[in-house]
Symmetry: C2
Subunit: 320 residues, 2 copies
């Protein structure tokens, strides 16, 4: 239940007027914000409070995270000369991140999941200068200058690896590679332009011996490609869970796939939706019950609590 | 090549400062704006200049179309009492629309494609009050009050039928049913909450003996369901065309599936993408070559011209 904080009063109290980048620079605050939903809901893992553009901000690329908009890039990536502005963050630049993970690991009695942005999604932010619906400049560069595109995504893979390595070295138990925008690609384009760099990241994670979750939205047509090198593949609600499991086979776990918008419905409807997800998995191992995307800010925390409890009751019944 | 106008200088000159709703109230202007891309590019059909919320505006529901935002609803649909605000437009309220179609049919030597919004998509606009990324209120109502939801979508089906009927009666050769937001639904939810009302519209169209194109974006998991009662199914670039044809069978035509964002790339890349689409169809009948979504406003008209010419050359070669 990623981004559960946004719907919690204690989150808004603790973060106050701090911008997201200011907040992530304070390890104690990051720890508190990460712990809040775990404390409140009793979920089975914690997701680090951060943002996929944090490593880009750390190396001074010129990133701001604007409330209500998302990441905004001061001088977007426009050509080969901008490659020089991209390098993996060093340990000093990652010190806040490592410190936050360290604090959390000492306090948590559930696993901590770290994360990083996948190269395609980071490239889109850098090239478009912010969130984009159609990713036109990104696709124009990708299709028009493949050599530059591959150099760019390789650098972004190195940045993701450095960030994930710091998190794992500090004690994170698993990592999630976020390819939030990959769903805008055709399978052929995903394979040609995105998969290579993401697989580099996943291969690095595999060497550290921690499981990797590969997350996407609207990526129903890409599941098999996203499963290569990943232990878990995220599925949103657009793909029936049973179909995803059949396509991916028993060796790959899935995470999902309740529609976050469904959580705005009356509880009776929410519970029917959750039960349908659980029924679709039919008790097979390798399913992380979760929303298919982040918690919507207007979600009622009481509904999320009932959802966690329902899932735990179901799990206990299934275990017997 | 829907929405091609937005990227044409003559479009902006002709429309001037008029709002979209002001423009669609002037049949001569609608005819001119519809004809412009046909004249310039020599495409094989015309798509009526209009918007899916026009029938809602016509019955006085209180709709504005705000430049850069999209449709905005003055008093969104909030409950059963609002059903009374929804009824099919009468012939007087559709007079502008019929007049525009009449003018066009007299002038065009290619078919005119009319269109209407599908009930699910219209419902989302009405309930959210405007364009929505996650459709939370829509899904909450849909899941929480199925009886009201079915009544609402039935009314919206009647509105779509009335609008399409006026267009066909005035001479439109084919119609397109736009379910722009259907891709946010799981297949199970699509079948339960959206398919019924859309099929009512498609069944009405079938009685008039004109072909119906069923359009969606991100609807790769819904193609079979959207094909029921439709002659043509729209596919965006996320679904390989060959796969769509295999799934839908030879009886259903497809429309698509070039990525509009790809048209921003250098011509060499655009043409490679277009050729890949044509190659995937492998000369089979029943493929309407098209973009998988509307033309992006920043598209270079010269690129679209080359795209039309490439497609026509390909067609002539394939015919031989």
């Amino acid at each position: 239940m990623r981004q559960a904080g946004r719907s919690l009063p204690e989150y808004h109290r603790a973060r106050g007027e701090l911008s997201l980048l200011e907040a992530v620079a304070r390890p104690e605050l990051v720890a508190e914000l990460t712990l809040q939903p775990v404390r409140r809901y009793g979920v089975d893992a914690a997701v680090l409070f951060s943002d996929i553009v944090v490593p880009l901000a750390a190396i001074g690329f010129g990133v701001d995270i604007v409330a209500g908009t998302g990441p905004v890039i001061e001088r977007p990536f426009a050509g080969r000369a901008d490659l020089g502005r991209l390098r993996p963050p060093d340990s000093e630049e990652l010190a806040h991140l490592s410190a936050a993970v360290g604090l959390l690991v000492a306090e948590l009695d559930v696993p901590l999941i770290g994360f990083a942005g996948a190269p395609f999604t980071l490239a889109s932010y850098l090239i478009e200068g912010g969130p984009s619906r159609h990713h036109p400049r990104t696709k124009a560069l990708m299709l028009g200058d493949e050599a530059l595109w591959l150099d760019l995504t390789e650098r972004l893979a190195e940045i993701a690896i450095a960030s994930l390595h710091a998190q794992v070295a500090a004690g994170a138990s698993a990592v999630q590679l976020f390819d939030s925008w990959a769903g805008c690609l055709s399978p052929a384009h995903y394979r040609r332009y995105a998969a290579l760099a993401s697989r580099r990241v996943l291969a690095a994670v595999a060497e550290w011996g921690v499981p990797a979750i590969h997350f996407g939205v609207g990526t129903g047509a890409l599941l098999e490609d996203m499963a290569v090198g990943a232990d878990v593949v995220g599925i949103d609600w657009r793909v029936p869970l049973g179909e995803a499991r059949a396509r991916l086979g028993a060796e790959v776990a899935v995470q999902g796939n309740l529609d976050p918008a469904a959580c705005l419905a009356p509880w009776e409807a929410v519970s029917a939706e959750a039960r349908a997800v659980l029924a679709a998995n039919a008790g097979r191992p390798g399913h992380i019950f979760n929303l298919g995307h982040g918690v919507l800010p207007q979600t009622d925390p009481a509904v999320l609590q009932r959802l966690v409890d329902l899932t735990h009751r179901h799990g206990r019944t299934a275990d017997r």
